[in-house]
């Protein structure tokens, strides 16, 4: 999975390309370790994400919890299969999905 970041002031867009699964989720988690400090608006662009498994959901939830305290988080461009997983797990009710 590739992670493309674009920081515009305090707005961070993270584009995920490939598969967010057990093996790649730790790479995304590392990005949050110190990367979200001054961010008030976090956007995930999932238009090039092939799929997400529960390991990836866990990392999105971590990001959501962090952003709840200091701003907003949005999900953009989720495809059919990613939405299917969000719907099954109830994440579609919790995440702000555009």
């Amino acid at each position: 999975m590739d992670i493309q970041k674009n920081l515009d002031g305090t707005k961070l867009t993270i584009k995920l390309i490939g598969r967010l699964d057990t093996q790649t989720a730790p790479n995304l988690e590392k990005e949050f370790a110190d990367g979200l400090k001054n961010v008030t608006e976090l956007i995930f662009d999932l238009s090039s994400l092939e799929y997400i498994s529960s390991a990836g959901l866990r990392v999105l939830l971590m990001a959501q919890n962090e952003m709840d305290e200091k701003g907003s988080m949005k999900i953009r461009g989720a495809g059919e299969l990613v939405m299917e997983v969000f719907d099954i797990t109830g994440f579609s009710d919790v995440l702000d999905i555009e």
């Binding site: 699964d21 498994s53 529960s54 299917e84 997983v85 099954i88 109830g90």
Partner: protein
Amino acid sequence: MKELTVNADIVNIQPMTSFLEEYLKENGCPDSDILRIDIAVDEILSNICQYAYPNGEKGYMTMKLELIDEGGGVRMFFLDGGIPYDPLKKRDPDVSLSIENRPIGGLGIYIVKKTMDNVFYEYAEGRNCLTVEKSWKS
């Protein structure tokens, strides 16, 4: 029947997935179902890697594949020699609760149950065996 055995390590999920994808492509499984099956396999194998062999013990995981439904579906067997564990006994998570109020664990096997057609568990001859069926022809 095709099969592949690897060490139960997270780095080996990817070669298992490639092996499976090649098999599914050869047998005409549509791309959308290949990805759906990949998700299920990630959930199942990551559980084996993380929980089947506690205390740093080294172990294996095996995947066996065969066609069902006159070639319009696949039956997958996932075997390991770790501690007996039936993931289907775990109660389904209450997905209507807000995320903050429920544990994140248990979502993986729940995704498998919801996206695959049939899932069975048995423990025999010292091995866990999870059988998963998915058809792509209706």
